[in-house]
């Protein structure tokens, strides 16, 4: 062919090339080591220094932990066993304090023979939270989640069974009030009634009703006062109550802050800014000291309840800001599409806006939860016996005077397990939602 240039000779491959292995140096562990640890002289230097530091840390921590002594009944006992076993001068952990006092670290001064109750309450918590966390479970189980807080309350504090039942009925009363108001005047009146009527019910009707029912049918279990609560149980109660209550409150605050209604908007902004602008410890002192001045004399408003309210307020201010970020990230078209289809405000929020905004906000929300859970240790300053408070009182006994690290390591590990699992769950949830929607 005369007009075909020599370079563009037609070409057809006769046989296909088989797949071949990459050159040895470029494969597997060797390749990884070379690329990540020894790719240049600076990298090599960093690797060597890091290895040295890791070695120094591990060579003290590992023997201290692994050789630790479990079978003593006081710190002096620990030291004697240590000297006998490893000779003078060797530092090892005295885990015996954990073996001796773990029940106290977990349950505080909760009566020993009733330990099953908080454990059961924790199981009820897991059963209640499962349908919320794992959307694959049947939706009907959510009714169980609604009942779980009341069951848990009853298991933990005990007393007459009528207390939690009558209080829980307040929710049904609220739902009924909403229906009636909604029929008569629309969602606004329904919303107001749904808040006001249950509060009136709880304030004026619940007390006499509980007493009446208890005198007719006295069913109950042994009552345990809040003063006996302590340890991780206390952290869990405050943390879990704070987390479950602060999420809805935070969402409402975020919506309030976005609202066009002047009063609602300003109240939300003021609440968020004031709560967020003052350290939690100040709010805790307020809860423990100041509230007594404001409350009518003679009211016995449980300190733990006050702390839960303060922690909830504090976390909800943060959640509100995180959720607001999620709301702001949504394109305006989503709001408009909902409006154009005739969805009212409540429906378009619930079905369209919040599911998307919360998804964006998950990392921030879980972050806030983790912070809240760890901040429960601050209650030690107002005299509640959280794990830190208990470690102080354990240290105050003659047996364990002078022991620090072992207690803190134990407390730290338990907190780490909880917070780390929350973090993992949030990652898994994010991945699941991204997979679903893209």
């Amino acid at each position: 062919m005369s007009d075909t240039h020599a370079q563009t000779q037609p070409f057809v491959r006769g046989e296909m090339l088989p797949e071949s292995e990459p050159p040895l140096a470029e494969k597997g562990a060797v390749k990884w080591l070379r690329e990540n640890l020894f790719s240049g002289w600076l990298n090599i230097l960093l690797t060597v220094v890091s290895l040295y530091v890791i070695w120094v840390v591990l060579s003290t921590v590992v023997p201290w932990t692994v050789l630790g002594i479990w079978d003593a009944d006081s710190l002096t006992g620990c030291r004697e066993i240590r000297d006998a076993r490893y000779g003078e001068g060797m530092e090892v952990a005295c885990w015996a304090v954990i073996a001796d006092r773990w029940q106290q670290l977990l349950f505080g001064f909760y009566p020993r023979d009733l330990y099953a109750r908080p454990v059961l309450a924790l199981l009820v918590f897991f059963a209640g939270i499962a349908p919320v966390l794992f959307t694959g479970l049947p939706r009907k189980l959510l009714w169980g989640s609604l009942a779980a807080p009341f069951v848990m309350y009853w298991l933990l504090w005990g007393g007459s069974i009528w207390g939690p039942i009558v209080v829980a009925l307040g929710l049904a009363v609220g739902a009924l009030a909403f229906q009636v108001g909604n029929r008569a005047q629309g969602a606004l009146l329904g919303g107001i009634l749904a808040i006001v009527v249950p509060i009136l019910y709880w304030l004026f009707l619940a007390g006499p009703l509980i007493r009446a029912l208890a005198s007719v049918l006295p069913i109950g279990i042994e009552f345990v006062p809040s003063d006996d609560f302590g340890g991780f149980m206390l952290s869990f109660i405050i943390g879990i109550a704070g987390i479950t209550l602060s999420l809805p409150l935070g969402i409402l605050l975020a919506l309030g802050r976005q609202s066009d209604l002047f009063i609602i908007n300003k109240v939300s902004v003021a609440f968020i800014e004031i709560i967020r602008g003052v350290p939690l410890i100040v709010w805790l002192f307020t809860a423990s000291l100041l509230l007594n001045y404001f409350l009518p004399p003679g009211t016995n408003f449980d300190l733990m309840l006050r702390v839960i309210i303060m922690v909830t307020f504090f976390a909800s201010a943060y959640i509100a800001e995180v959720v607001r970020g999620g709301l702001a990230a949504l394109p305006k078209g989503q709001y408009e599409a909902g409006d154009a289809l005739g969805l009212d405000y409540a429906k378009s929020m619930r079905l369209i806006i919040l599911p998307q905004a919360l998804k964006i906000a998950i990392p921030g929300i879980v972050n806030t939860f983790i912070g809240l859970f760890k901040d429960t240790t601050l209650v030690v300053f107002i005299g509640l016996l959280d794990p830190i408070g208990l470690s102080n009182s354990i240290r105050a006994t003659t047996d364990w005077n002078g022991i620090y690290w072992e207690l803190f390591v134990f407390i730290g590990i338990l907190f780490f397990i909880c917070c780390y699992s929350m973090g993992r769950y949030s990652l898994a949830l994010e991945r699941k939602l991204t997979r679903e929607n893209r």
Binding site: A337, A340, E436
Partner: protein, 265 residues
């Protein structure tokens, strides 16, 4: 401004395209301001049932704002808008009623990305019209078939092409059984091949006698389907006419200039 003048080869069945005497939308002396900016000025427009109206005009002339006032995505400050006999006021019940009677298709689709195609289509019927789920799904599948994507029903919007998403958006509106459809540049975010599939869907709607108000620069569509073309500039209706007259014999200078730019001659 670019105008892809895509001609649809298909034969258009005009038998059901009849304009009745019944008024669908009545706009009287309507004015709107954004702050101090007078964006719509003395708009008077009567739309009869069965009309297919194309609104065109330069960017910023207020076309979107006009049709968004009809379902109260924007609030007007002066004049009256009556949709299907209901006067638009700040009464929320009226607004919700009008919104559920008037379908709207946006330039950027605005599908709900966290819901499947089917859920996108059944959401409003179930929650606004209180249709049972099964029935809503059957209706949704019917309309998805009409826009020719029933097989995508269980995917998420992010997995569809732009043209498919826009057809879902149309199906989503149709599921509410609207008596009027508003389109705001439904094809201007799409590639040419996809424009055709969306226009085909819209032609299908017109053939069934739907009342349509359509902001678009698809002049081929205007010629074939519209019974009236409205030209807007600076917040005012400058000219309106039947498409034949409008394109061949424009009256105002502005219209002539606009047409010469958009048709490229």
């Amino acid at each position: 401004m670019t105008a892809t003048d895509i001609e649809t080869e298909r034969h258009i069945d005009r038998s059901a395209m009849t304009v009745s005497d019944e008024v669908a939308i009545e706009i009287r002396g309507m004015n709107k301001w954004f702050g101090s900016f007078h964006v719509l000025r003395d708009i008077n427009l009567t739309v009869y049932r069965g009309e297919r109206i194309v609104i065109c005009g330069p960017s910023g002339s207020g076309k979107s704002t006009l049709i968004r006032c009809i379902n109260r995505l924007e609030e007007h400050q002066q004049g009256d808008i009556t949709v299907d006999g209901t006067l638009l006021s700040s009464d929320l019940k009226n607004i919700d009623r009008i919104r559920s009677e008037v379908g709207m298709v946006f330039q950027h689709f605005n599908l709900f990305p966290h819901l499947t195609i089917l859920e996108n289509c059944t959401l409003a019927p179930i929650w606004v019209r209180k249709v049972p789920k099964k029935e809503a799904e059957a209706t949704a599948m019917h309309y998805l078939e009409r826009v020719k994507i029933p097989e995508q029903a269980h995917k998420y919007p992010g997995q569809l092409s732009g043209g498919q998403q826009q057809r879902v958006a149309i199906a989503r509106s149709l599921c509410m059984n609207p008596r009027i459809m508003l389109f705001d540049e439904p094809t201007s975010a799409l590639d040419p091949e996809m424009i055709k599939e969306v226009l085909d869907t819209m032609i299908g709607l017109a053939e069934e006698g739907m009342t349509m108000l359509c902001v678009t620069h698809e002049m081929g569509f205007a010629r074939q389907v519209a019974n009236r073309v409205i030209f807007m500039d600076q917040g005012q209706i400058v000219e309106q006419n039947e498409p034949e007259e409008f394109f061949n014999n424009p009256q105002s200078e502005r219209t002539k200039l606009f047409l010469s730019q958009i048709l490229g001659h």
